[in-house]
């Protein structure tokens, strides 16, 4: 490498050094530390003590851990499809660009912007509380609403509905994907007498499938990491029905001061998310159509 090239390289590194330092200090080293801590017993106030695989084995017999797995999986496999379905439906409705559709796109996007916000969660708690808005409205039409937050069967649904309500960001991505489908395909199809439904199934969905894959993966990853809503709205819910994984990790780490155990749980979550991401990618070969690959 010539002197000039080396000089250019070093200058480059200096320019990105703020980001590099931030990355190493706040992301990379904590990840390494968390992996090492997962093999220890560490309560912050005293130095860590090496206990090898005890933390990992403990998870298998920890009843509340199994509850948290159940609650998180239930949430991911209901909230994510719901969110994507709503996102696609509304994107289809708002596809033509008029002033009215632009306004509605903004309105539907807004809830997802304020996503993990604490304020929204607090309001949500009020809405589904005992004398909250939902039951008040139901009362007006003569229905006695259930105790949404106190009933173990309904509590998790308040959170699923909250997730589905925030479909806006996925909707925008679907909109972008829809715009890229050449109109000529639809014209040709309608000339050949295809119905709206088969146009949807045979043109829209396949052309949109890369975008669907993208949204699916992003939403699965976010779904597994859900925390704020459970922390504020239900605090882990009646009978641990909303004790999401991230919330349980938080409780073990900061309320019980068991940093080692919590770190081990965090790494298992990483493995779970990685597994489902890889699963989505592998399966994509079966259902995702990339135009560049030609007939597929």
């Amino acid at each position: 490498m010539s002197k000039r090239e080396r000089y250019n390289n070093i200058t480059g590194y200096i320019f990105i050094s703020p980001w590099l330092i931030g990355f190493f200090v706040f992301t990379f080293f904590p990840i390494i530390a968390s992996f090492i801590l997962a093999f220890t017993k560490y309560d912050i106030l005293t130095p860590p003590r090496w206990i090898a695989f005890d933390n990992w084995l403990r998870m298998l017999s920890d009843e509340r851990y199994l509850h948290s797995l159940k609650a998180t999986f239930y949430y991911v496999f209901t909230a994510v499809p719901l969110r994507l379905v709503f996102a696609l439906l509304v994107a289809l409705l708002l596809r033509p660009t008029t002033r009215l559709t632009s306004l509605f796109r903004g309105i539907y996007y807004l809830p997802s912007l304020i996503g993990g916000s604490v304020a929204i969660a607090i309001i949500w708690r009020q809405i589904f509380g005992l004398d909250g808005l939902t039951n008040f409205l139901l009362h007006l039409v003569g229905i006695k609403g259930p105790n949404w937050l106190g009933n173990p069967s309904t509590a998790i649904w308040t959170l699923i509905v909250l997730a589905a309500w925030q479909f806006g960001s996925s909707m925008l991505i679907f909109l972008a994907g829809l715009k890229q489908i050449p109109g000529s395909l639809y014209e040709a199809a309608s000339i050949d007498g295809a119905s709206i439904w088969s146009q949807f199934i045979k043109i829209t969905l396949p052309m949109l499938s890369p975008v669907i894959l993208f949204n699916l993966i992003i939403q699965i990853i976010n779904g597994f990491m859900v925390f704020t809503q459970a922390y504020i709205v239900t605090s882990g819910g009646p009978l641990d029905t909303t004790l999401f994984y991230a919330l349980y990790v938080y409780q073990r780490a900061f309320q019980n001061l068991e940093m080692g155990y919590a770190s081990a749980m965090a790494w298992i979550l990483l493995i779970i998310i990685a597994f489902f991401t890889i699963l989505a990618f592998k399966s994509s070969r079966l259902w995702v159509y990339y135009e560049s690959e030609g007939i597929g």
């Binding site: 912050i44 106030l45 005293t46 009843e63 509340r64 708690r125 509380g129 005992l130 105790n147 949404w148 937050l149 106190g150 009933n151 173990p152 509590a155 605090s235 819910g237 009646p238 009978l239 641990d240 409780q251 900061f254 309320q255 019980n256 001061l257």
Partner: protein, 429 residues
């Protein structure tokens, strides 16, 4: 020339940055942390203003939260070696913090007279002593109790709670209140961790933990089963809010309780909370009743005198002397106590107690009267909770309560599971 001017200007600018810092250094910064209700925050902040007037060279930086967030925050600060100078402490945690070296022994400040404890009885100080050294100054004496609304009792024609009343008397009163007024008899029992179960055991002559802290403290699961059968009965008869209602309410501020809205005739309270609850109830006359004794012959009292909370000085503090002065001010200043008004409990200084009497509002007077009543009807303060107690309460007791009250498991089956799980946790510590 241009270069010289710019250098001089830069130097001047940088000096101007430092001068405010230099002058600010003249005041000693004292960080004080506490938990409490909004009422307590307001009172404490006003008391701090008085302290700063008395000692103009000290500037206090308050850090206050609700109880539910306090220890999470403090633990994080401890890990980051960033603890405040003065922290409010609780009997449940003080011995752990002291043995880990996070708190400063205050004995030298007492002997030097910086903290004047000449008017304080030894009994009030002993809860804050670990290993013979004083780690926390008691901020007020309190005890568990049932706060009740005498108006509602009169309306329902129920006789007021008497000293020595048992759970049977209590149940009778509650069913009358329900049938006459349609309101709850009591609230707050299921969300109080294991506090009421603990005094239930005390009244039977036992304690939740064994002497060595390695296992459950009672041999017969009957105590567990009877307690939960009692709660299930109260829940089904409408004597207390169902677990569903309590789950939807979440962790409440004192200002949100049913007793304030007159939907419940009684509520479980620490006696010092009477001040805040009375304020929320717009100074409606509320009174305190002793905890009901166990429904057995010769039941022991179900009350003990507790140091409601302490002020401790952290060992990392750079200004221990000023921190000690702050604690002394809280304990001995009459003006401060007129503002604080025993909201943290009955003040430990007999001089302050006497001086406050003519100023006391009805809530405070009731609290002082209650504590004197408890003095005559109490068992000695139980030992501090063993290591692992926090895990027991959060991960075994609370989920067990939920499961039983939601009807997912019967009390007798739950009793055996509870014992196993608790013993396992305590033995690992």
């Amino acid at each position: 020339m241009k270069r010289l001017i710019s250098i001089v200007l830069v130097l001047l600018l940088s000096l101007s940055v430092f001068t405010p810092i230099l002058s600010a250094q003249e005041k000693i910064p004292l960080r004080v942390a506490w938990w409490g209700s909004q009422d307590r925050h307001n009172r404490t902040l006003k008391a701090i203003e008085l302290f700063e007037k008395k000692y103009p060279n000290i500037k206090v930086y308050p850090e206050y939260t609700a109880w539910s967030d306090y220890w999470t925050k403090l633990n994080t600060q401890a890990a980051g070696k960033n603890l405040p100078d003065v922290i409010q402490q609780d009997y449940a945690y003080i011995s752990e913090w002291a043995t880990r070296g996070l708190l400063l022994p205050l004995d030298e400040y007492v002997s030097k007279g910086i903290i004047d404890l000449s008017n304080v009885a030894e009994n009030s100080l002993s809860p804050g002593k670990i290993g013979g050294k004083l780690y926390g100054v008691n901020l007020g004496t309190n005890s568990l109790g049932f706060v009740y609304d005498p108006e509602l009792f009169k309306k329902a024609g129920v006789s007021l709670p008497k000293a020595g009343w048992t759970w049977n008397d209590c149940k009778e009163a509650m069913s009358k209140l329900k049938s006459k007024l349609g309101i709850y008899g009591i609230e707050g029992i299921t969300t109080a961790d294991a506090q009421v179960f603990k005094v239930w055991l005390l009244s039977h002559g036992y304690w939740l933990y064994s002497d060595d802290g390695k296992s459950v403290g009672y041999k017969d699961d009957k105590f567990f089963v009877d307690w939960f059968n009692l709660l299930l009965e109260l829940q089904s008869k409408g004597g207390m809010p169902s677990i569903e209602v309590d789950a939807a309410r979440g962790s409440l501020g004192v200002e949100d309780m049913f007793i304030v809205t007159q939907k419940s005739a009684m509520a479980l309270l620490w006696s010092n909370q009477l001040v805040a609850v009375s304020k929320a109830a717009k100074e409606r006359p509320l009174r305190l009743a002793l905890m009901p004794r166990a429904p057995i012959p010769n039941a022991r009292p179900a009350n003990y005198l507790k140091a409601s909370m302490f002020f401790s000085v952290t060992s990392q503090s750079k200004y221990p002397k000023e921190a000690a002065m702050f604690i002394d001010f809280f304990t001995n200043s009459l003006d401060a106590n007129k503002i604080l008004f025993a909201e943290r409990g009955v003040p430990i200084s007999s001089k302050i107690q006497k001086a406050l009497l003519p100023f006391l509002g009805s809530a405070q007077r009731e609290m002082f009267t209650y504590i004197s009543l408890v003095e005559k009807n109490s068992v000695p303060v139980p030992p501090p909770d063993p290591p692992g107690a926090n895990d027991v309460i959060k991960n075994v007791w609370n989920p067990t309560v939920e499961q039983i009250m939601y009807g997912k498991i019967a009390p007798d089956k739950a009793a055996a599971e509870f014992r196993d799980k608790v013993n396992k946790i305590l033995q690992q510590k």
